[in-house]
């Protein structure tokens, strides 16, 4: 079982097709699979649907696929910070499905855990509830949300071992584990691949069973809002 590939293009070979549904990890520009996104741009795959909390900025993250008009639909909780996204959305060129952030995370987790639907109080009495089944449990209303089942998951981790066991770093973990879980195939990009036995089994954040292909590469890791305090 060889999971390690030399490049993002090789790791994605045979996995991409027009009209596919991709789940991507990351929060803002933190912990995004920047190398795999760049490779999807170069592959030219079109009519993509992305489940991703955000849509990147104009020239980084999913934003680079908006510039090339490769994205048909976004399932996201927050899409500010991206002028090209807004332009395409207002022009009717891009479909957008807003999900509350926790609902999006749980839809990914549920899909990966084989749960096709679940009930949540999030969004009851708001536009999010429109058209959805409402069920009362113990006197309180909940809306039904569905699990997400993606064709492909793309995620970014800090370290992996040869078998795809992943370790994330600080808040760069965010949506990566649930995004990884909900795809038929998951490709992970990491900063360092280490030999089996060098990661503490008790400190694995995502077991390699969820990771099918793996690349190591250099990451720009751009900061979106550099904020400091006075010394």
């Amino acid at each position: 079982m060889q999971k390690i590939y030399k490049s993002a293009a090789e790791a994605l070979d045979g996995l991409l097709h027009d009209g596919m549904f991709i789940a991507a990890g990351g929060f803002g520009l933190c912990g995004i699979p920047e190398l795999l996104l760049q490779s999807i741009k170069e592959a030219g795959t079109r009519d993509l649907t992305f489940a991703s909390n955000n849509a990147g900025v104009d020239d980084f993250g999913i934003g680079i696929l908006l510039q090339t008009r490769q994205v048909r639909k976004m399932i996201s909780s927050y899409v500010g910070e991206n002028a090209e996204f807004m332009r395409q959305y207002l022009a009717g060129e891009l479909e957008l499905e807003f999900n509350p952030q926790g609902t999006l995370a749980e839809r990914m987790r549920a899909g990966g855990a084989g749960i096709p639907g679940f009930y949540t109080a999030t969004g009851v009495g708001t536009v999010i509830a429109e058209g959805k089944e409402i069920k009362n449990f113990n006197g309180k209303d909940y809306i039904m949300e569905t699990g997400l089942f993606a064709d492909l998951s793309i995620v970014k981790a800090w370290k992996a071992d040869d078998t795809g066991n992943l370790v994330f770093r600080k808040t760069a973990r965010n949506f990566n584990p649930p995004a990884a879980m909900c795809g038929k195939v998951c490709v992970a990009e990491v900063e360092e691949i280490v030999p089996c036995g060098s990661l503490d089994p008790d400190m694995i954040h995502l077991p390699g069973i969820y990771v099918h292909r793996l690349i190591q590469g250099d990451h720009e890791k751009r900061i979106e809002q550099r904020t400091i305090r006075a010394a």
Partner: protein, 207 residues
């Protein structure tokens, strides 16, 4: 004199109790962290962190360490990291004692609107709908009136809701209002603000 942003934040901090896990929204709520004093408060950042520290010193910024507003921050010796599904699990599951959030409108029945103005650019609700549906107590901090001088404390919200009947306490530039049966109850008035001033500036029913 109505309260300014810092005074509102200081008043909100008085609502927080020792040992609480708390989520602070963007804007005035972020300032609440400056006024918790000696209280042992653990801040949650919904992108996957408990025990959020202050902004870093110059040169110590880490691209892997940001808050829900995407700003660089620091960790503490008690910090724990987790993924987004677990983060919202603890929010939805009622483990977070309180959220302090900004608002565009609040109604006397506790309805909250803070994510969307029809006809204007919509950026998304982020984690706001999950927070108000899940946390123990929702405290809103906002100016009492909008830029046109109209009350933001209403009988009914006019904007699309973030949550229905979710707000517990409203801290505005004029004072503190509690959501109660039949309307809002005045808990406190800002220095120099009379009950008449509060009533005149508030569209919602005051009981």
């Amino acid at each position: 004199m109505p309260w300014d942003r810092n005074q509102m934040a200081a008043r909100a901090a008085r609502e927080l109790e020792d040992g609480m896990y708390v989520n602070l929204g963007i804007g005035i709520p972020t300032l609440v962290a400056n006024y918790v004093g000696d209280k042992d408060i653990t801040l949650q950042s919904e992108n996957g962190m408990l025990g959020m520290g202050p902004f870093p010193l110059e040169g110590a910024e880490d691209p892997d360490l940001i808050n829900a507003g995407k700003q660089t921050i620091t960790e503490l010796n008690r910090t724990a990291y987790f993924d987004s599904a677990m983060s919202f699990g603890m929010i939805r599951g009622g483990k977070i004692a309180a959220a302090v959030l900004g608002a565009m409108e609040v109604a006397e029945n506790g309805d909250l609107a803070n994510w969307m103005i029809p006809g204007k650019l919509v950026k998304g609700m982020g984690g706001a709908m999950d927070l108000v549906a899940g946390v123990g107590r929702v405290i809103v901090v906002m100016d009492h009136q909008n830029k046109q001088g109209k009350s933001k404390v209403l009988k009914q919200c006019t904007l699309p809701l973030t949550g229905k009947g979710v707000v517990d306490l409203i801290i505005t530039s004029l004072g503190v209002l509690k959501v109660a049966d039949g309307g809002l109850k005045i808990i406190e008035l800002a220095d120099g603000v009379s009950e008449e001033d509060m009533r005149a500036a508030t569209e919602a029913t005051i009981v």
